[in-house]
């Protein structure tokens, strides 16, 4: 794919955009055309014909609000979709396939950056958008473009269709671990995680892009969730992988306090965020906090103590060789605490984590 069609069009009005999309769609591959509009899809692309027909049928008998979930085929996306489809109509968006999805979940296999994606979402007019489709793997070559351009496009669509609810999954790691940070950070704390890490810098700018919806579309309810380390049996994110290691490396002389959140607790928070009337930024934390060394002791893995400079050197080399996805710039997570205050989530969102840290760790494999 060339870079040009990845870049979203400058034309902002919906008509112009869809017009352009139609034009490009005619020229481009069958697969792309499939996603332009539902009608065209039905005529041209046999692969998604069935899907479109089903959707048309269901529209008649299913008038529950439609929720669009980006990154639906990821570990967390699947969990969220499975939970949401009991209460909402759910449409997943992901460039990866989502083969084992429940029957009533639709899936748009499309790259969020494509104009055709924008057109298809506009056509669907979802009542709510849950944005999980953010790549965290720094080795994924186009992670930077995908995250920023995809999110920018999604936000433009959300504005254009005046979506009722926009939920974005950010992270408490954006506050950044720091020796000097105060004990429990509230949502107003500055996002200082960027430090030396370009990946975190991108994630902060995504968080801020979504924040702009607060003033651009005050009528839409925008929710930004900033959860602590999410771990769970279905996830392959950094913290889950870390605690699954047979030998768990730590930085010698440091033992930070850690907060963990079970994947299903996060899904609960997601459901709460979709309730009407909820808006704002929320820190989401599991029950309690504990020193890293004691969390490791609750796991079968063995703790390794590695002197800081050696750890950095080894990690840099391994990162270059693509053995690890964990850049040494984020090693401060193993040195200093980054604790968040989740009082607002408890009071305003009504979110109370159901699983203790022991249960969360035991449930990991």
């Amino acid at each position: 794919m060339s870079d040009d069609d990845a870049r979203p069009s400058r034309a902002e009005t919906p008509d112009q955009v869809s017009g352009e999309v139609k034009k490009t769609a005619k020229k481009s591959t069958r697969k792309k055309a499939a996603k332009t509009t539902a009608k065209k899809t039905a005529q041209r692309a046999p692969a998604s014909k069935a899907g479109a027909k089903k959707k048309a049928k269901r529209k008649k008998r299913d008038d529950r609000p439609l929720v669009l979930v980006t990154g639906a085929a990821g570990g967390l996306g699947r969990l969220v979709c499975r939970k949401l489809h009991r209460r909402y109509r759910v449409c997943g968006v992901d460039r990866r396939p989502f083969p084992d999805r429940p029957k009533d979940i639709e899936h748009l296999r499309i790259d969020l950056r494509r104009k055709s994606a924008a057109a298809a979402i506009k056509k669907m007019k979802p009542a709510a958008i849950v944005h999980l489709g953010v790549i965290h793997n720094p080795h994924a070559g186009d992670a930077f473009r995908f995250n920023l351009e995809g999110t920018a496009q999604l936000l433009r669509v959300a504005e254009a269709i005046d979506v009722d609810k926009f939920v974005y999954l950010s992270s408490a790691n954006l506050y950044g671990p720091s020796a000097t940070s105060s004990g429990f950070l509230t949502e107003e704390a500055p996002l200082m995680g960027a430090g030396r890490s370009p990946e975190v810098r991108d994630l902060i700018s995504l968080d801020m892009m979504v924040q702009s919806l607060f003033w651009k579309r005050p009528a839409s309810e925008t929710v930004i969730l900033r959860p602590v380390h999410i771990v769970g049996p279905h996830l392959r994110n950094a913290p889950s992988k870390y605690f699954r290691l047979g030998r768990i490396p730590t930085v010698m002389g440091f033992d930070p306090m850690i907060q963990l959140l079970h994947e299903l607790d996060l899904v609960d928070a997601m459901l709460k965020a979709l309730e009407p009337g909820i808006r704002g930024v929320f820190n989401i934390s599991g029950a309690g906090q504990a020193p890293l060394s004691r969390l490791i002791r609750a796991r079968p893995g063995q703790q390794l103590f590695i002197p800081g400079p050696m750890f950095v050197a080894a990690l840099d080399r391994m990162f270059q060789l693509h053995i690890t996805q964990f850049p040494s710039t984020e090693l401060d997570h193993l040195r200093y605490s980054c604790l968040v205050d989740d009082r607002r989530a408890r009071d305003d969102l009504g979110f109370v984590p159901q699983r203790s840290m022991q249960e969360t760790l035991a449930d990991l494999d």
Partner: protein, 273 residues
């Protein structure tokens, strides 16, 4: 090994540590900030040795310590924070109701390997108003040195002269309705007499100060005798949202009380050792 150390500790001391309030201890044995009473059992013998043998502390007024939350406000001196260590030991080993004192430590110490981790387990927290508020809301006893680094690093010529006090502690006390217990430590000023502070070196190393100490050259404390006086609790009515002038006035009252207690302690003292 931990058990082996604990077995050698005076059982009366273990009982006192077991008697400290534990409502805030979580499922992994620590509170939200990482404090663990079991680790205190390992440190207690060392603290006790310093308290009884090395500094031979003479603590008075411990009966004044209230129940529930309170703020200990003390003068700060001696280049190394043994004064905080001894105030904590006094509250743990000699107070009628044993308490763990949470001191607000310098931010830079939190970056040191091993030290930071050890401090945290022993109940020390990085000095920050939000942290302090949370601790007080949890009914903890918090030790604040309002002089901060200026106090502990003052030169020998300025001994027992209080530096200016910050006002943060007073706002927190007013906001959370916390009684203030004034504390005067006499003796610590002579443990490491500093004759000069090499400021450029301190800046280079990132330390708060780089004092030249005479006679022992390294900032290890001399075995001076400590006299720690705890005053009756002072309560101030307010919301914490007062104008600066009002708060400064309250702070002055606390500062004057401590200065008076220091004078009294100095007059009563017979010899440095």
């Amino acid at each position: 090994m931990q058990q082996a150390i604990k077995d050698r500790v005076d059982p009366a001391l273990i009982d006192r540590i077991d008697a400290i309030p534990r409502e805030n201890i979580g499922e992994f044995g620590t509170d939200a900030f990482g404090f663990d009473p079991e680790v205190v059992k390992l440190i207690a013998p060392v603290a006790n040795w310093f308290y009884r043998r090395y500094f031979r502390v003479n603590a008075r007024g411990l009966e004044h310590l209230p129940e529930g939350r309170f703020l200990l406000i003390s003068n700060h001196s001696g280049q190394l924070p043994f004064d905080g260590f001894m105030i904590g030991t006094a509250c743990l080993t000699e107070a009628p109701r044993p308490r763990i004192v949470r001191s607000m430590v310098e931010r830079w110490s939190a970056e040191l390997p091993f030290v930071s981790h050890f401090f945290v387990r022993a109940g020390q927290v990085v000095g920050d108003p939000a942290t302090c508020r949370r601790l007080l809301e949890n009914d903890e006893a918090v030790l604040v040195f309002p002089e901060g680094a200026r106090g502990i690093n003052k030169l020998f010529a300025k001994r027992y002269q209080l530096e200016s006090f910050g006002t943060g502690f007073m706002r927190l006390a007013l906001e959370t309705g916390t009684p203030i217990v004034p504390v005067a430590v006499v003796g610590a000023e002579e443990q490491a007499p500093a004759i000069y502070d090499i400021k450029p070196l301190a800046k280079l190393l990132g330390f708060p100060a780089a004092p030249i100490i005479f006679p022992q050259l390294v900032p290890l404390p001399l075995p001076v005798r400590y006299h720690i006086t705890f005053g009756p609790p002072m309560t101030f009515e307010g919301t914490g949202d007062e104008d600066d002038e009002v708060v400064v006035e309250y702070v002055k009252k606390v500062r004057n009380t401590i200065q008076r207690m220091l004078q009294a302690g100095l007059e009563q003292r017979q010899g440095l050792f």
